[in-house]
Amino acid sequence: MKPLLDIQRLSVDFNTKRGVLHALHEVSLTIKAGEAVCLVGESGSGKTIASKAVMRLLGHENGSIVNGRIALSGLDLNSLTQSELRAVRGKRMAMIFQEPMAAFDPVYTIGYQLVETIRRHESMSKSAARKHAASLLGRVGIPEPELCMKQYPGELSGGMLQRAMIAMALSCGPELLIADEPTTALDMTIQAQILRLLKELQKEFGMALFLITHDFGVAARVADRIAVMYAGRIVEQAPAQELFARPRHPYTRGLIESAFMPDRERGEKLPAIPGSIPNLNALPEGCVFHPRCLHATDRCRVSEPPTVSFSGSEVACWHASELPGVSPMPESRPPLSESGGAGGTGWGRMHAASEGEDLFRVEGLYKDYPLRSGLPGRPRAHIRAVDGVSFTIRQGETLGLVGESGSGKSTLGRLLLRLEPATAGTLFFQDTNLTGIGASKLRRMRKDMQMIFQDPYGSLDPRWNVGELVGEPLDVHLRLKGADKKERIEEILAAVGLDPSVMNRYPHEFSGGQRQRIGIARAIALNPKFVVADEAVSALDVSVQAQIVNLLQDLQKKMGLTYLFIGHGLHVVRHISDRIAVMHQGRIVEISPSRQLFRRPAHPYTRALIASIPHPDPQVQAEPDRMDGEPLFSTRTLSGCRFRMRCPLATDRCREERPELRRLDGEQYAACHNPLL
């Protein structure tokens, strides 16, 4: 059968001020009608460029197709004129984009933009088009399509906008739907909903799906076939099952391992791909992956491997035949959500930790943010970001804190360090009441409590060099001078795995992972007791995340640190934490030892979160706890349990009475009237 989309030896160049950049190199990929193909790659791999090349959208970005052929059911897209092309775009192939918030024109209503698309390609009256648009919006799960038609993009949440964008893409019944990171900007539970929707629609409309993602978890949920991209090349391509069962390229293996963080003992090192993604203008000779490859030989350093076939998979690696084609995820292991017994050293450690004394004690913490009110003198409306939270953090442990965006987890982290004042409640750090001390005492206390920030690009002053950045905390607290200071900075840099020679370089010269190391260096410079890691790895590429997690664990062992690890990637949090607290709309709904939380979640919300973790084995797609709806943001406080609107188990009692956190079993606490235990 002839493929629907046929990409042959596609090469794309970008003209930049610094010369020509070879963004894609001889990429070949085919998609059959009705098939779902995922292109997986990290930032800078060229995956988005590949998708834009198919739509021929590169011209406006100074990119050009220098070689190769792209055909849509035999139609050579590369030779079409602009107006012929426009008749194909949006009609026969449609695209949805990464950031739904940015992909709609903010000054027109959703309805206008949908009707505009429909009427561009179909000869339909305005009212017929409106009707069609509304029915599409209803189909993609927007609760009130008629209302949504009249709304502006700014009035909808990211998840709803992504649904609207899908509706727009479907409006003319395309044969091929290209989705560029369609869920990356969304929360976990929403992400799962959108992927499910895409998969359903793909079947219903009988279209092919070309999904671009950095996340193997997403690929596992959707793909029939997966292609892995690295530095502008496809390094491996195989049916999804085959790829997860027998990844042949070392990069694929590394990526899968980093993406799923197989259920290992806490404290055990994660397998990580060393190094970082190469610059396109300085690609290595030979195999582009060899500098990061553990199996690299002289041959790999000299010549680029050709693509060869192995029982259904195509691999570009000199050693593909020699490497064991074994899954990095041993099949003996049960799926994550039902994983393992409670034995092992993990428990031992945890018990030891639970006997440790409390480092942090939080009692009844509240944080309200005022909303800008129209006129002075009127009572101000508030948003309650943290709503009566109490817990303790023990000396030497890692407490994980998970929740969707807007759950208040980052606010809670900042409150603990008193980077923001709490509205009410008390905070004890060892024996000091942090809420009761003055500014200068607090500044001195900061020596013991530090923070690692989410955004490795924004959290370093671009005008300071590494030496100055790492030296800043030393200046503030130790007043070290000259050689002493320099020596100390070098020590710290070495501890986070950076070469001391980088001292005179500026943040923009580093990759994301290296910048995060600089951020960590600042945090540990003063030998703190407690560190808040606020989404410390979320902004990093998958292959780099594992490196940073390993580093954090090393430092914890060496320096006896206590962590509050805030994250939304559940598997990362699970790997690093002794205990995990789950936050939902400003409240902690469950807190329990991390193994136990995954094995037997007590709160329905926790269960739903765990169910939204993708699993590498495409066969394991059981989703018993699909959660519909979106988190609610409102200044009006919902009575009773805030989760009840989305909860399958909600009863009348949940509406009337607010559930308090109570002990269920051993170390496990949950705030639910009908716990699952």
Binding site: K52, H60, I383
Partner: protein, 318 residues
């Protein structure tokens, strides 16, 4: 929405009042006595000067003078000119039409030329139109308006004799000064519109619109332009104010009647009531322009309307 508008009007009034207080105080504190410009001080007996001062009220302390001034203002009395003894308000009203004519025509030229060139130059980036637009833009912010006025005068009026060199009646007298002001304004606007268009053209939603198969025309004029106008509106507002200020120079260069001429004469002769009156007038104009800018914002940008709506209800945000 109503509440927001009322709030705006109240704060606008406050601004107008404080700017006239400011001018009053500046004029009071600065050296120089209005009497100097009325009579020859050396040749006038001191009693006469004293009685004149009393008559004008300038011998009272500042707060008293201020109170008097605002008291009269509330009754619609802006005082009388020290030089001609005419009441100020009718004087302004009489001089207003030629000035408004000039400002309006100049603004129209600036808008048409500036918007068209700015948009075309962004769309045809690095093409010939872009070059012209950038050149116009640079000239617009670099040419002294009095000089370009004189050059136009020299060429079109003195050499070619196409337009009269002076006067303020009829469109022929309007052509040169409005062209001078208009083209300079267009230069300012071109720079803003071009930048703003380029900015919008790199937004993700533009790629999305192209991916939907829309024609380049629809993408540019229906979507990019409307978004690019949002930041440009503020500049258009400022430009409208600048046009009025520009009339001061233009009316001198082209010997026209008008408010601009009137205030520069009044300033030079320290005719305080007239200066006060005109500055009050210009503050009112400024405030009105600002209100219009705000209104057109909420007309063109739904996000502003939404913000107002939430400010009103104080209620749920997304």
């Amino acid at each position: 929405m109503v509440r927001v508008v009322i709030g705006r009007i109240v704060s606008s009034l406050l601004v107008v009042v404080s700017s006239s207080v400011l001018v009053f105080v500046i004029m009071y504190l600065l050296p120089g006595d209005p009497i100097d410009s009325m009579v020859n001080v050396a040749a006038t007996p001191p009693e006469v000067i004293a009685s004149l001062r009393h008559q004008l009220g300038v011998d009272k302390p500042l707060p008293q003078q201020l109170a008097d001034y605002f008291g009269k203002l509330l009754r619609g009395d802006l005082g009388t000119s020290l030089l001609t003894s005419e009441p100020v308000l009718p004087k302004i009203a009489a001089q207003l039409p030629p000035t408004l004519e000039l400002a309006a025509v100049s603004l129209a030229i600036a808008l048409i030329v500036g918007l068209a060139l700015g948009v075309l130059s962004a769309i045809h980036r690095n093409g010939p139109i872009d070059w012209i637009a950038r050149f116009v833009g640079l000239l617009g912010i670099s040419m002294p308006n009095f000089w370009s006025g004189i050059l136009l005068l020299l060429v079109f009026s003195i050499r070619l004799g196409w337009f009269p060199a002076m006067g303020s009646d009829g469109w022929r007298t309007l052509a040169l000064p409005s062209l001078t002001l208009g083209l300079i304004g267009a230069g300012f606007l071109v720079r803003i519109v071009r930048n703003s268009m380029l900015e919008v053209m790199s937004e993700p939603y533009i790629v999305m619109l192209r991916a939907k198969g829309l024609t380049e025309r629809a993408v540019m004029y229906r979507h990019a332009l409307r978004n690019a106008l949002i930041p440009a509106i503020t500049v258009i507002g400022l430009l409208a104010g600048d046009m009025l200020a520009g009339t001061v120079v233009m009316e001198t260069v082209f010997a026209r009647q008008g408010i601009g001429r009137m205030i520069s004469d009044a300033i030079l002769s320290k005719d305080m009531p007239v200066v006060q009156g005109v500055i009050l007038f210009s503050a009112v104009v400024y405030v009105v322009i600002n209100l219009l800018v705000d209104l057109s914002y909420s007309w063109i940008d739904p996000r502003v309307r939404l913000r107002h709506r939430t400010a009103d209800t104080g209620g749920a945000i997304r």
